[in-house]
Symmetry: D2
Subunit: 363 residues, 4 copies
């Protein structure tokens, strides 16, 4: 299916950057789950992000819930979020109607939609569409926490600066979820933002790597083939704009180890089975083993840059050059963080509902 993801718990997203509204339909969630609109708003704020680092576009991003919530709780029927598009200066994008921005989806959209796509501001490809995922994610992140399942993501690397590794997971996740620029070491923030601002001054942009940890997730969830936990997470993670890589546990690094150092030895701790290391990131044979789920995603540099670029004219399919105007972000890795937390929560809820039934999350 195209703009719908998930089996028992699913999300459908819609909208265009400069259309009337964007939003999402979150379906399949158990009835009786508390919906905290303040928390939704605070998650939406994390997506908008910080100061000079990000887009100058100002959206109130006020989420309206138009169905599926009654007396502050989920009804069990589809929850629909809508967000109006207010601040859409379409005039800035005039030239983009026909010039493909390198690194963006303009050309591939043209090949798929034959010129009927809403090109303004990237249309349906805009990172703005992730707002629906963040609103949906906020509901399930809250519900997962009540079940003792916590998700935290930090910017592991950005523009060559590396944050410190996770240490005390509980503390670190707490810290991250209160930050708008999610790094574990305060110094990382200044070093990274400096690099980002420098790129901006050069009319350029930078990328980064996000590292995510999920704690408290039960063992025995996932499938041996196809719907492996890794596979379903990766499937949706590649929808987060600019993601070009996903790895679990030691990921690509594990290929340089020997079996004897890559295998996670089992032990027991307070009567609970665990592993001494977590090179496999909490997943073996596609199924969770009760250890923290750990993965990293690669976020490419924002393709919108001020520097002149070589491209083609989509009407004539002839070569031309392009100088992008308008506002754009010199980095999006820090904004992608909350989107990754959100889609992770959505996938994990779906897996839990498939395994334990539709009502488990609310019990």
């Amino acid at each position: 299916m195209k703009n719908t993801f998930g089996e028992s718990v699913s999300v459908t997203i819609f909208g265009e950057s400069h259309g009337i509204m964007i939003g999402a339909v979150l379906d399949g969630l158990a009835s009786g789950i508390e919906v905290d609109e303040d928390f939704i708003a605070s998650q939406m704020d994390l997506r908008k992000s910080v100061g000079a680092l990000s887009t100058a576009r100002r959206e109130a991003d006020k989420v309206r819930i138009i169905s599926g919530v009654f007396n502050g709780k989920t009804t069990g029927t589809p929850i629909t979020f809508i967000i109006e598009n207010n601040d859409t200066r379409s005039k800035d994008y005039g030239e983009l109607a026909y010039k493909a921005r390198p690194g963006h989806a303009d050309y591939t959209a043209q090949m798929k939609y034959h010129g009927f796509q809403d090109f303004r501001g990237g249309g349906h490809f805009s990172g703005r569409i992730t707002a629906g995922l963040v609103a949906s994610g906020a509901v399930v992140i809250k519900a997962l926490r009540k079940k003792g399942i916590y998700i935290g993501t930090h910017i592991l690397t950005c523009a060559g600066v590396r944050d410190r590794d996770f240490n005390n997971l509980t503390d670190d996740i707490n810290t991250l979820n209160s930050l708008d620029f999610a790094v574990l070491d305060e110094n990382s923030k200044s070093a990274m933002t400096e690099k980002i601002e420098q790129a901006k001054r050069n009319g350029d942009s930078v990328g980064g790597t996000l590292e995510t940890v999920v704690t408290g997730f039960p063992a025995g969830i996932g499938e041996p083939w196809f719907d492996t936990i890794e596979g379903v997470l990766a499937h949706i993670l590649f929808s987060v704009p600019a993601v070009k890589g996903v790895e679990f546990g030691d990921g690509f690094g594990i290929t340089e180890k020997f079996g004897s150092t890559a295998n996670d030895a089992y032990c027991t701790e307070n009567g609970k089975v665990c592993t001494k290391t977590n090179h496999n990131g909490g997943v073996l044979g596609g199924i969770t083993n009760g250890m923290p789920i750990v993965f990293r995603t690669a976020v490419k540099p924002t393709p919108s840059i001020y520097k002149e670029q070589e491209t083609i004219d989509l009407n004539t399919m002839q070569e031309t050059t392009l100088q992008i105007k308008g506002r754009h972000d010199p980095a999006i890795v820090h904004r992608a963080r909350v989107v990754i937390d959100s889609v992770t929560a959505l996938v994990l809820c779906d897996q839990l509902a498939l395994r334990y039934g539709t009502d488990w999350l609310a019990e």
Copy 2:
């Protein structure tokens, strides 16, 4: 769905390592596609792999097609492949009935299936189950070639040795598809096999990285959200046993670039739009741009090693140690290659059928 993947063209796999038969049902393929049983057999041979490097287990791996093929061509109805399990020395695995092998799915299977799983030889988690994917893949690989779409994978790195990069894609793919140890530089083979054999002598194992290229694939295929080409490929790639990471184009490496160096400038060549570089691996906004699709997968070291390991007893959930006996591979990265080609072909066929209709592949 659990052991079924794909929408218009789908594959269902079944079987256990030491059960009666394993196999697959390949459904949704256009009618009238030639089925070349010799090619299927040769692809199956690639999975079995080479000499001293791999498992001592000897399976004829004779694939029988029991439905869906009539007069040498696909009927359009489900094609079922079955493969008998002959050489199953279950006695070697006695101890594994209750001791979890680190790095394997024994413990997670126990948590999911409550002890009812067929534990012998890894049961349904065995790499042997990929045989059904390879048989299915062989049919579609052949069909894609008739449409000018070619897939090639080489071992980019193994045990610290790095193969040369792709050069002339057409020639390189041709070469790779005739090799049982798929490297572009002959010297890589000897260097890698030496490392593998050394690991074996140490009772240990090694991993590696596979790099895949798809040429001739049309632009405009894939979805902007969820069913991105990257997402659907990654989804199934994480089913290939031991895969812990997937990256497209420059992947994690792209995070260290600037936007100005990461963006692929457009140009025209013989009237056809292309890009001067391919840092995005042929996919932008989830949709193909007509450039080669390029991705890499990380394959962890085989978890079965001879060295003694710390683990738990699945009956008592108490700590114990394990010394794995029986035959096992010091590396599987070279065997994973044909599986990756196969699942790639299956996913791409599905995407083409969704886009162009069910009959396109046979036209």
Copy 3:
């Protein structure tokens, strides 16, 4: 999936009778299809229906398209329809918060949603939710007509009155699509409405049978198993509130025939293969044969009646009696007509897209 239906072309519906908004997301439709908002409005009017026969509730039912349409044409990305709920006199429904209306979903909703459902006006179970299906259907009905595919439904029986059979299909479909009370014989309307009004005067309600015909639909569409044309149509037809039976061709009547009279003999007409009779309703082995697709749906009497009924209190699960107040329809069969046309069009579009590819409908 729960509130989403369809594979290549899908629809997601949301909302509650007395919530803020209801609507639908129509996804997967080809880009470049004209969207005629006047036609959508006129289809919505058919759903509201006529004079004294139907609910006194007055909704403007103004459909807003908030995504997926650009310059009057589909973009190929999700089309979202929203409709505000204005005239919701919730006070009329006070008692229904705890008394289950017989024939309605109040009790089953309680068992599924544990009391968290929005009970007002039937909540998500309300017939009002079909408005999203009608809006979505209007877009595809128009597109199908451009392809020469026409859908027409008449009230075959209502309260014991039987309309005449289809005669000249082209003319009859034309006629039906201009009527708000869809009967082929004008006299049927007066006879049926008289019966409906009489039932209303008795504080009671009546049901009826709808007969649908689809012309111009190509042969060779559908699957031999599971996704038979009959199966996928029936699947969604049973979502139309109050439908309790679906039959194709001669349906239950065919069971009284002999094979020799039930089989449709083949012949050729103007070089085109057809059948002399159409007892099988245009579908054989789950696949269309190019003859008109014919089916009938049974619509039960509206469960909301004024007469006192025996029921239970949902809080205490004890017996009680119920006297429903507020406005309700003495019949809905005439209003169900446009919903059936709409879901039929949605299913057929999906089947065509699966078979011929995503772009065929706009070509």
Copy 4:
């Protein structure tokens, strides 16, 4: 998806009437469920059916389970059933290679598969393919009974003879499940078989109606839209060859009632909520209400008859006549019974797994 049905519990079927093997893959079933091969065999016998009434074709129909069962219990991974085709007198079908049998799928198969289909004995369209459904169904029917859920189907009408109605459901279901010709009144059998044999003597065939009852099924299962219990059951019921109609509760008969007589009044019995009547067949708003699920299916007369018929030549698409030789059934309604029980059980298991989780059935 094409030959796969179900979400959490799914079945995939494959094979052709005169191919090497037919079979099914049953996936998603909880681990630890007892698999009774004798019961499977006895269910398979019901499909073959009785004496002179049915096809002269003799198949041992020995079901082999080649995966997914270990030590007599389900492993939780795919269960694969294969059945060899032995007695296939393909020579009888020579002429059918090019003449379309009226009432059969020969012509529609040609339009869908372009002549590549295996035409012998109906190929993949053959009723024989239901054997895989019956084998799969046998496993889940047994498992449902352990949960107190019982399914029974009788031949309500055949060739104008009507069986008595259900009376004591528990006793009636018990009786039916021990009969090879499933009627509640012994006299119905002789009257029906007489009519069937008479039709056979005339070179003709007859149809009938099956009525199914499910007891012990919990309330609160199903969805308000799309995946209504009625919709998902009807979806698969129309796959049972020759089914042309499905109705729930009073079905088409309910359209002739008033709301006051069609509504099922609620009451309590031994502290349990129930309804005084069951005109709605146990489903309201798509969701079960705890009353018996009741539905009827219309089975058309076997299309294979000895009488000469008008048809077309599939090679030339010109008119011709056809005299079918070989063995065929003068009725299949009695054989369809066990198929309907089987698919009903498969759908209900899937719904229970979606609702209560994957392990519930084995708990």
